[in-house]
Symmetry: C2
Subunit: 496 residues, 2 copies
């Protein structure tokens, strides 16, 4: 029985790797007229994967192994635990409803694109309402002892997370960061901040620098590659084949820099999962929040650190010669400018979580039935004014900017903010173990990635995120470290 389980898991992993390769090709290389055929192939393989995991054979196997857990290895126990959760989830949602929902979300991405490009929310409004309603309904089906309906979804993306914990988290942010941002805004009035780093650089050179940086922070090119794509992403066939992309937009060469460091953070996590987890269900990164903590650690705590750039600035000037006219002190401020904007993905380190807060509060209201779909644009804009001090001029730079809700990702956004908070909390512990700034100045990034590998990456999905965070930092998610980190860093930079 254990052998049969292993065999099916291996088979599943092979289908998964094949699917990831197809996705990779579709996003980076596939010629336009070949896309429909390869998309069909994706659909077919996805169905194979789904059929495998919903087959009576697999379900019986899992349920039977679950009854004799005492005979299983630690890895197998966790595989069975996670599989049981999936099976339970699946069994509670009627398959016809799930299929209808899957169809809706798959066609809706195109409709969202149209609505966004036409700046017309009415085009996609009815579908968005349906998607929210499906999510509520499915959450009802699956609800066990969760206090709030929304908790069911929060727990999907971040196991153990609920409104109670997130309210504490976001309330702290609101209390501390919103007024802190206002202070910075005040201070900025007296500064003549100029943008000196958005200077056009040839895409090929940006790409070469991106590869240099990925290697510099520890991304292993024997187990991975980098390509270009419309939107940067990381995917992995398995730990030995991790693929990052960058989008080298000519006019924003530092968008390339921080985006590749971010993706390398995801990539290194995958590359450092334990060898013993290969060919199991656990050989990949943990929850979305934990994954995001690793990319943001790399992007912000490492990548926007003055100590990181100090030994690297000369090299940077070789790739981007315009930097020769910017002195290092000025440069380190340039890469840490605070500027509230309308678009989440372009947000700086400080305001980023405020964007998430807007989305969290709206999701919460939707699940509590406190808001109608028609009011969403207004509420969105009000919250943007309240937290960030600026107002979208249309819904395309407001509640239609992100694809997430429109393709069914509801309850997903909070993980982004949690990821940043985990990163700061982990950083706080790391600093007790060694001098991180000094390691950066010594170009010893390996010290950092080894530490993360040993404390976090190697576990893959063997341990839950809450367990890892507790073990590494000695406590649960605590927004204090995140807030302290932000305030300390930006008080210094803005001298307030």
């Amino acid at each position: 029985m254990r052998e049969k389980f292993r065999e099916l898991v291996k088979k599943k992993n092979r289908i998964y790797a094949n699917l990831e390769l197809l996705h990779w090709d579709l996003e980076t290389k596939t010629p336009v007229k070949s896309k429909p055929y390869l998309s069909d192939l994706v659909a077919e393989l996805s169905m194979q994967e789904y059929d495998l995991f919903t087959s009576d054979e697999f379900i019986n196997l899992v349920e039977n192994l679950n009854k004799e857990k005492e005979n299983l290895s630690e890895i197998e126990k966790k595989e069975i635990e996670l599989s049981m959760e999936d099976i339970e989830r699946m069994k509670k949602i009627p398959s016809d409803e799930y299929e209808a929902y899957a169809k809706l979300t798959s066609i809706n991405q195109g409709i969202w694109e149209e609505a966004k490009s036409k700046k017309d929310f009415s085009i996609v409004k009815a579908n968005l309402e349906k998607i929210f309603n499906y999510n509520k309904k499915f959450a009802e089906y699956r609800r066990k002892n969760e206090k709030n309906l929304y908790d069911v979804l929060l727990n999907d993306y971040e196991k153990g997370m609920d409104i109670e914990k997130l309210d504490i988290f976001f309330n702290e942010l609101k209390k501390e960061i919103v007024p802190f941002l206002k202070k910075i805004q005040e201070k900025k009035k007296s500064l003549k901040e100029e943008n000196k780093i958005d200077v056009p650089v040839d895409e090929d050179i940006q790409f070469k620098f991106a590869k240099y940086l990925a290697n510099y922070v520890g991304f292993d090119f024997e187990k991975g590659i980098i390509e270009t794509s419309e939107h940067p992403f990381t995917l992995n066939l398995n730990k030995n084949d991790v693929r990052l992309t960058t989008n080298n937009k000519k006019d924003t060469p530092f968008s390339t820099v921080f985006s590749i460091i971010h993706e390398a953070g995801h990539g290194i996590y995958e590359q450092q999962t334990g060898d013993e987890l290969i060919d199991t269900l656990l050989g990949t990164g943990g929850t979305m929040g934990l994954h995001e903590s690793q990319s943001r650690f790399m992007e912000n705590i490492v990548g926007r650190n003055k100590s990181f750039w100090k030994p690297l600035y000369k090299k940077a000037q070789e790739f981007y010669p315009f930097l020769k006219d910017i002195d290092f002190e000025e440069f380190s401020k340039q890469i840490n400018k605070i500027e509230p904007g309308l678009i989440r993905v372009e947000a700086d380190e400080l305001t980023y979580s405020l964007h998430i807060m807007v989305r969290y509060e709206i999701e919460k209201m939707i699940f509590a039935g406190e808001v109608s779909i028609d009011d969403l644009p207004k509420i969105w804009n009000q919250k943007m004014v309240e937290y960030l001090g600026i107002e979208p001029e249309n819904d395309s730079e407001g509640l239609m900017q992100d694809v997430h809700w429109y393709c069914g990702l509801v309850g997903y956004f909070p993980s982004y903010a949690i990821g940043s908070a985990y990163a700061s909390q982990i950083y706080n512990t790391m600093k007790k173990d060694f001098d991180v700034g000094k390691a950066l100045e010594n170009q010893d990034i390996k010290k950092i990635t080894d530490w993360l590998g040993e404390k976090i990456h190697k576990y893959g999905r063997l341990k839950d995120t809450a367990e890892i965070i507790k073990k590494v930092t000695g406590e649960e998610l605590n927004p204090k470290y995140y807030i302290d980190y932000l305030k300390e860093k930006y008080s210094k930079i803005y001298e307030i």
Copy 2:
């Protein structure tokens, strides 16, 4: 029954496309530590494809449809005909022997690499003998009314080809080209030929020029892409997804140029197969010889044509600035230099077929039992001296230079020479229809590719090569056109 057949063919094509994508990735992108896993995936999918085509279900289907051919469409008739040939071939070889052979050839590639790098034929000699013996044995099993055993294999790669026809072909070449080459060699003594075009050029620039040229000759980037790889090749998932590679070696920028024009010739052929052949067994190019005729037509008849470069030379100088110091007349000689060398893949247009002749004659001797494996190095070297006037210093630049025999491709080489000959014969007909040189000077390559598309490409595998050649040129393979073409062109260039 016809529906079931269509369904299985579609399924087969999907597995094939998936396999090609995996091969593509393995040759162009796969990180080194991921290669074993993806190679396993290739093995598994190959097995799926094999199982599908050797299943009783498929075989019965084909045999039954073959009995009621009158009800089938033209396309289906041809699909059944080709499938019947495959089935017959398969049935005649005992599967255990075939498996042993497949294993041998698959491991032997690595052994050949080792032997070649160590310049030691003895390492791979025993296996090569086994491979030849298997091929003889399999040919015996399959022999029907073929006059010679070797004919069985020749027919595999070039349907309808046999020793009788090839002897006429190669004897003509020997009679005409060998003395012609000697004349050129004599003339060369009085010339101070310099190599002016092997000037280092940055790989990125070579790659950009390669893309420019592929587009220029008509490769459609909506249905294809170009990447870099160790050895240039073309593969296709289907007619809408054709992938070429180039190897941009810094010191030989014109190797990139002619290799991409060559591969584009293969690629355009695939892209121009008929739309009605999609999802059938016929939606890809014909025999290896016919395919090679299209790549060589593009590389040599088009790409090494003075009229091709005339309107393009300024552009070429933009990509390769060193050309500004070479006047056009001189340039057109530089790209058509004759220089006998030891290595087939580096051979010029004139001497290329002599390399093939060496291989053909040796294969013939092996099948006639006229030579022992121990004598091969000596015979190889003798023939090189006889036809090309030079002698290898070791077997790595002699009979170990090509992988073909060592991985089981026996009877394959002649197709390369036949391809060149077809190209000249087709060119001879094309010139009657319109002024090819003028089309090149007018940058109207489309006139040429449309003609080839209409007369050859659109048929895919619907018609046999012999049938196509006969229909297009009015006669069977005739070496006259090839010999005339070569002698006329190079008499002019070398003024003899």
